[in-house]
């Protein structure tokens, strides 16, 4: 049975990473997406972390690994006790994840703008080996500032990478905004796009499971604040988008 919210035990695991007693899932904009991916979408398991046929999840937004650590622990990729001393000398879990230290972590990330180009290489490599596995990469809206993403978006579109899905978690943290919206930037390069409520598990599941036969997919997951409202800067963003739309 599909969940509609992240189960309390996973929130407890998240609290062990953050030290935050509040069960406030929306303070972690990626938690719902990552939970739905591992619970309902990805074909991967703790005993298959080296299986060439596994689906790959690449956390590009490496400065927010708490949700991913909590979900991987909940799914048994590593012991939950690892969550209690993140970034300590003896810990395998850091404030940015290292793929060589953590079972289930597919890339080391932290510096922004590396996950999507790596994911494009992953998808190309799987395709040319006739491997049916999927590649899902998670980036942030502000991370898209890095020009390396623009390179990768164009390449993935031109190469028609149907096995690639990019999830953009849009918590409106980008300083300069994306007039016209984020999805449009992928659409113009030939990607299939979907805009979904980043906390709606059913909508996320449907969008993340979908793939197009001859082009990559982007899912823009819009997140809300702790009161269920769009993030504050949405107002400014909407104005900008409208102005741009009018001008166009």
């Amino acid at each position: 049975m599909a969940t509609t919210t992240v189960p309390p035990p996973v929130l407890d695991l998240l609290s062990r990473v953050t030290g935050d007693e509040k069960h406030d899932p929306s303070s972690h904009s990626t938690l719902d997406v990552v939970w739905v991916l591992y619970d309902r979408v990805l074909d991967v398991a703790p005993d298959r972390v080296d299986d060439p046929a596994r689906d790959r999840f690449l956390l590009s937004k490496g400065h927010g690994p708490a949700s991913t650590y909590a979900v991987l622990a909940a799914k048994g990729f590593f012991p939950a006790a690892w969550l209690d001393d993140v970034a300590a000398w003896d810990s395998r879990l850091g404030h940015h994840p290292d793929r060589t230290l953590v079972p289930g972590i597919e890339i080391g990330s932290g510096s922004l703008g590396h996950g999507l180009p790596l994911a494009v290489g992953n998808a190309l490599g799987l395709r040319l080996q006739d491997n049916p596995a999927r590649v899902v990469v998670l980036v942030g809206d502000a991370e898209l500032d890095e020009g390396s993403n623009a390179e990768a978006i164009a390449v993935a579109g031109r190469f028609g990478l149907a096995n690639l899905t990019c999830v953009v978690v849009d918590n409106r943290s980008d300083n300069l905004g994306w007039p016209g919206g984020i999805a449009a930037r992928f659409a113009v390069e030939g990607w299939a796009t979907a805009d979904v409520d980043g906390h709606d598990h059913a909508a996320l599941r449907t969008a993340l499971r979908r793939s197009d036969p001859d082009r990559p997919s982007v899912v823009v997951a819009h997140t809300t604040d702790e009161f269920g409202r769009p993030h504050q800067s949405d107002l400014g963003h909407t104005t900008t988008a409208t102005a741009k739309g009018t001008a166009a």
């Binding site: 060589t100 494009v120 290489g121």
Partner: protein, 300 residues
């Protein structure tokens, strides 16, 4: 018949390499794409030209390697090493995967193109990252051997092609080789890659020994210690940023009172001139006359 350049050899070698090694994939950012003949048609999925996008080129190579493939990545040295340096550090090294990076346009080969197309710091930069092997072939035949060997491993390998090459190939086994011997007390001049012939000409009648390596990193420290002897007097002639090999040489000889000179591309001045590579070599003291003068200083 004119001799095949290293670059021509690389483009000629890539097809047979892709034929023979199913794990290999060539990743390009336009440069080289038009010189491959029918290779792209024969291997449409394994010749990947990402357009003029060097960050994506190296990132894609890292992603390919993560799926078990063996990427060979090629473009001009400044765009490969300097523009995409963080990708080399993170998308290859930090992911603990490898690739074969093959650059063209060594140091001042692109003399008429100006500073934008010159990267004499490339060997220093690549050597500063963990786990890399740097090959500086002195002849197209050495390049062929290095490329074939590197394609069969998962190592991180940088192969630096050059327009200049020596008249004949030498062993490309990662070791130092004595090319001109003599009494052990004579100073040793170590020539790296394509500068060997110039060094031999420059020191023809001087009382020095001459050794050769095409793999400056990691340096064959055991070979250096053997050849340099208990009281080393040594010049390293390197066709890139002067002193690039200084840390490795100092570490190799740390227990011996040594006198070492480094002859390379000066690091403190940007040469704002065009002209030919020969003009640049002369300006940098990397022609026979300049190297001879430095060798004579060493002899004292």
């Amino acid at each position: 018949m004119t001799r095949q350049t290293m670059r021509e050899r690389f483009y000629a070698d890539v097809g047979p390499l892709l034929d023979a090694e199913p794990r290999t994939a060539l990743v390009l950012a336009v440069i080289g794409s038009g010189s491959l003949g029918d290779v792209s048609a024969r291997h449409p999925e394994r010749v990947i030209d990402v357009g003029i996008r060097e960050q994506a080129m190296v990132g894609v190579a890292g992603g390919l390697a993560l799926t078990g493939l063996r990427p060979i990545v090629h473009t001009y040295a400044p765009f490969l090493v300097e523009r995409a340096y963080e990708q080399i550090k993170l998308d290859l090294g930090h992911q603990d995967v490898g690739a074969v990076l093959v650059s063209t346009g060594a140091s001042y080969d692109a003399s008429t193109a100006g500073r934008t197309h010159q990267a004499p710091a490339d060997v220093a930069l690549v050597s500063a990252l963990p786990g890399w092997t740097v090959h500086v072939p002195g002849h197209a035949d050495e390049l062929t051997r290095m490329l074939r060997r590197a394609a069969g491993t998962d190592d991180r390998v940088y192969i630096r092609m050059s327009a200049l090459q020596n008249t004949r190939a030498h062993p490309a086994d990662g070791l130092l080789h004595l090319v001109r011997g003599g009494a052990h007390v004579r100073p040793l001049v170590l020539a790296v890659g394509p500068l060997l012939d110039t060094v031999l000409e420059a020191t023809r009648d001087l009382p020095v020994r001459v050794a050769y390596t095409s793999t400056p990193h990691p340096l064959d420290t055991a070979g250096l210690r053997t050849l340099a002897g208990p009281a080393p007097v040594l010049a390293v002639v390197e066709p890139y940023l002067e002193g690039t090999s200084a840390a490795a040489v100092a570490a190799a000889l740390s227990d011996r009172a040594s006198r070492v000179a480094y002859v390379g591309v000066p690091r403190d001045v940007e040469l704002r001139r065009y002209g030919s590579p020969k003009d640049h070599a002369a300006a940098h003291g990397l022609d026979a006359m300049g190297i001879r003068a430095r060798a004579k200083e060493l002899i004292g």
